[in-house]
Amino acid sequence: MMNPASHLTSNRSRQPEHDPRRDRTAHKIRSLFISTLSHGLIIFVGMFFAVPFLWMLLTSFKSDKDVFHTPPRWLPHDAVRVEINGEEYPIYNVKTEDGVKQYAALKIESGVAYFVDPAYPDVVIPTKLQQGTERVAELVEEVSFRWQNFPDAMNRGSRPGVGASFWVYFRNSLVIAFFMIVGTLVSNTPVAYAFARLKFPGRDVLFVIVLATMMLPFQVTMIPVYLLFNDTLGWGDTFLPLIIPAFFANAWDVFLLRQFFRTIPEEMCDAARVDGASEWQIFTQIVLPISTPVLATITVFTFLYAWNDFTGPLLFLNSPRNFTMALGLQDFQGQNIIIWNQLMAAATVFTLPIIVAFFFAQKTFIQGIKLTGSKE
């Protein structure tokens, strides 16, 4: 059906008499135009989001040389190689007197290439590559994804030879994230339940304090907390300073959980109370089991936070064998020579678990973001 309002505004001035068929065509053209324009705009802006992401993926599949190819190409390319006597050699298009031939280059030394025709591997043809202004040989390339970058980067680590690799960083990140998730779930749920459902003197004042701590910049508590963990407790260069605080609740998760717990019908808990259940029983046997969606949200967001965290590991972890992915990647980038394809491969591996988590729990992600963004 046509929208009567748009019909009026669009056609009233130009067409005094109404021809229904022309109206319909005009409307069709107009909506096609709007739809094309919308798609065009969305895709144009979307390039800003998609291109960097694709560039990270594509760079991680390029060979060392291809990374610096000018002008840059989208797809990874590599030399076409041919096997001669058990060794692989790159193929060149070589201009000869008999036209362009495909020769394999055995070696290239000071501007002279030693070519062989793969059909007659015993006849070496030394050729000057630059003859006058003309370059006589061009490397033959094909689209080729260099998967080897991934094991190369992962086995390498940020500083080769110190016994730590990105595999180690990956495991460290996983271990820290796992314990932070456990701590966050265990500690925040009872606190949020108390703020949402229990009635006791001082509750509301304490909740205002919880909200107020959200505004407190981390830098204010950073130094004493650092000294407490590092000097007093001697936990420097261990995971404990990152994991232990997760077991003591935090304002954001308390707030998020409380919002959810408040939506649980009070009657359910009251019925259990009449039957003589204690608050702890109501919490563990009624409230927690029906809270799985919000617990999933907390899990995903804690994982995201732990996986992404840079400042915490930077403060407390010193030796490479204890690095997390974030720290290792920064360390890798901070080296004098930057190996971009391997760096991008490591960055891709770093990003992958989050992307996988996103596609498995898309609803949970979006729900969590909306919850954190919603006003009380």
Partner: protein
């Protein structure tokens, strides 16, 4: 004593005075038991460190030696410290430009993603994905994209005849480069705006349409006021986050030359970190932290106060 009048503290309504019956005592015990993880954490990791860092801010403290009381010396030194002002300036630049620009761009993106076209679910994923790329990975990716010689951006610019800037290597372009990086990862804000747009009652828009309001008038008089609480929320969280901007700048600085080029990426939190953990001036850094806290507090209250007039709350 004053049971009849409402008790107030700083404008907050206080609950009525507690009568300490047996029931109240037992309720309190249960409540505190449930709260104990937060209570202990608050005392150990928030309140105690706050008190201590406030004390440190009046001392000279080089981690290994005992703190030495110097009164307001640290604060006086800070106000005379050029790098303090540089770092504050850099941070205010980001707060004043990056935060509003990011909000505006997020809102525009949310409008695009709210259009009734096919394939929106796919487009939304594309816009959102960069925001979950880890900060360090995203920053390194942008160092690569914006590489002055071989980066994708400058080679594409060169193709259309534009001589691209040196981005992260140029003190005038390093902050715009970081702003681009920030906008690439604004998917979370876009989603928040998008859910706000979807909550705008369709009836309001249709009524305005019938009254002959065009697209822009509907946007200006209905949509923008309806999402103003979200704008305020994003503005405040964005501002607080920007004052603590650290990881991206640390990665750009490569760790050992923080603030490069020419202190243009020496943000407040970076200089604070440098003082605390590289120069081991813990007292000085604590003073910086408290100044930061006070700035954030004042700006937040100011924003809340000013926004009263511009923010629309339904129901």
């Amino acid at each position: 004593m004053e049971n009849s009048t409402e008790r107030k503290l700083f404008g907050f309504k206080l609950p009525p005075k507690t009568v300490w019956t047996k029931r109240a005592k037992s309720d309190l015990r249960t409540g505190l038991l449930f709260l104990s993880p937060w209570l202990i954490g608050f005392l150990a990791f928030t309140l105690y460190p706050m008190v201590v860092s406030f004390y440190y801010s009046f001392t000279i403290y080089h981690s290994k030696r005992a703190p030495e009381w110097v009164g307001l010396q640290n604060y006086a030194n800070l106000f005379a410290d050029d790098k303090f002002w540089i770092s504050l300036n850099n941070t205010l630049y980001m707060v004043a430009i990056a935060v509003p620009l990011g909000l505006f761009a997020s809102f525009v993106c949310a409008l695009l993603l709210n259009l009734k076209v096919r394939g929106q679910a796919f487009y939304r994923v594309i816009y959102f994905l960069p925001s979950i790329v880890p900060t360090v990975a995203g920053t390194i990716l942008f160092l690569w994209l914006l590489n002055p010689q071989v980066g994708l951006v400058n080679t594409v610019l060169a193709k259309v005849g534009i001589d691209g800037p040196n981005w992260m290597a140029d003190p005038n372009w390093s902050k715009p480069a970081l702003i681009l990086l920030g906008m690439w990862g604004m998917g979370g804000t876009i989603i928040i705006y998008l859910s706000g747009l979807q909550d705008v009652p369709q009836s309001l828009i249709e009524a305005a349409e019938l009254d002959g309001a065009n697209w822009f008038q509907r946007l200006w008089h209905i949509t923008i006021p309806m999402v103003s609480p979200i704008t305020l929320f994003n503005l405040i969280t964005g501002m607080i986050g920007m004052f603590q901007y650290f990881a991206q700048a640390y990665v750009v600085g490569g760790g050992d030359s923080l603030g490069r080029p020419l202190n243009s990426t020496l943000f407040y939190s970076v200089y604070l970190y440098q003082n605390a953990f590289l120069y081991l001036k813990m007292g000085y850094a604590s003073a910086m932290a408290w100044i930061l806290f006070i700035i954030i507090l004042i700006l937040t209250l100011l924003l809340l106060k000013v926004s009263d007039r511009f923010t629309y709350y339904s129901g």
